[in-house]
Symmetry: C2
Subunit: 240 residues, 2 copies
Amino acid sequence: MAKYVDIAKQLKSKILKGEYTSEVPLPDQISLAVIFKTSRVTIQKALDLLINEGLIYSKQGSGTYVKQNINLLSKFDFTIDQYVGTTELMRGHTVTSDVIDYDVRLPQPKEQENLNLAFSDAVYDFYRLRIVDDVPWKMEHSIMPVKVVPGLNQGVLKHSIYRYMRADLGETIGAAYRIIRAAQPNAYDRRYLSATSDTPMLEVEQIVSLADGTPFEYSFTRNRYDEGSIVVYHPERPML
Amino acid sequence: MAKYVDIAKQLKSKILKGEYTSEVPLPDQISLAVIFKTSRVTIQKALDLLINEGLIYSKQGSGTYVKQNINLLSKFDFTIDQYVGTTELMRGHTVTSDVIDYDVRLPQPKEQENLNLAFSDAVYDFYRLRIVDDVPWKMEHSIMPVKVVPGLNQGVLKHSIYRYMRADLGETIGAAYRIIRAAQPNAYDRRYLSATSDTPMLEVEQIVSLADGTPFEYSFTRNRYDEGSIVVYHPERPML
DNA sequence: CAGTGGTCTAGACCACTAA
DNA sequence: TAGTGGTCTAGACCACTGT
């Protein structure tokens, strides 16, 4: 574990425990360097992680402060700052999956492009109804390349794909592109999520990649408008 | 302008011009340091910016590569990786605003909390219909504190608030929290955006802050489901 | 094994804030 | 003016990839 990640974890833990508040700045970077027996640059890398999570902010010439309003999330809101699957996101709840449909086939042109595949690279194509605490919650339609995620059988699908990839395949999940939109309900929404013709749906289309840049998931996830929203934090960044 | 930002801009420009492709890695960090007459750490900070924009990725022991699929955005999609107002986002199009409603009043409790205000700090409360190329596009409902954004009259509202803040007030826009959801159409949607009872709406609730952490905007922006979606990129980050 | 990115150091100077 | 964060350097060692 890199030292700056470790320091960021310790600082985050202190912030969440309320040991640093928004009243008073954190210790300055040089003091932190002394406290953690490291250099100032390493402290800055640690603080950068917390800034990117929206936990703190720095003000040149003044200090580093804890942000207020760190908690706007309601129960089924869906944070996607770092990628974890539904199973992990809903820790403390019972998450199960009904596999509605499962197929292995050749990819369509759009899938070839988004997943960077040859026309002859087979893909899984499956629908899963994600159920939280026995209540149907989201409908997922996923396309994943067989060569990138081998051994993805229905047993794995009933549980957690992400856990399987990390634990069994030893892969590290990396970046994700997401397109978020509202949509009219389709036949699956009506059948499995109790949507009617005037129930707005929230849809997330996403391409998720491994740490080395290989895309491994192209999926569409939908839920009723009253069953969850998406929370995004955007730190300040220089315009390029 | 910081050197690493400048380098990032130059590299981005080369990537967009196709001078670096996904076939061949970028020059290694030491070569880049020589080319730009700087140190390796500065090169790394520049590359970090491009990684966070999703333009490139690095693979330890191998090299730094340009990502493929850099273009999934359709005309009215709405990227929010770095914050710019609608006016700037839609460069090349004619953006105008009808001010539907304008009021100055005391803040409600939720607004006090989200904007970090005392009960006696007045806020602007206004609705704007944003019109692109003469077509009604989005309905914005904004609450902004008078003390943070003084002089926000209807003349400014007709044009660009963000331009006013940057150019006239000299402020730097910083981070933003956003909650994205689907919603049923309300009276404004029906009246101004031609929504009917079965037209799903996409709503973005956001708190935007200045660079120094002061929140200055609490707003709700809505558009029809078929008039734009939101694109988000999430780089890989260590879990804290 | 050579080449690459990831991390870390000790120190320097600058830009900005606040008293 | 003292204290703080922002940037930058020159160099070191480690972890990983690919041959």
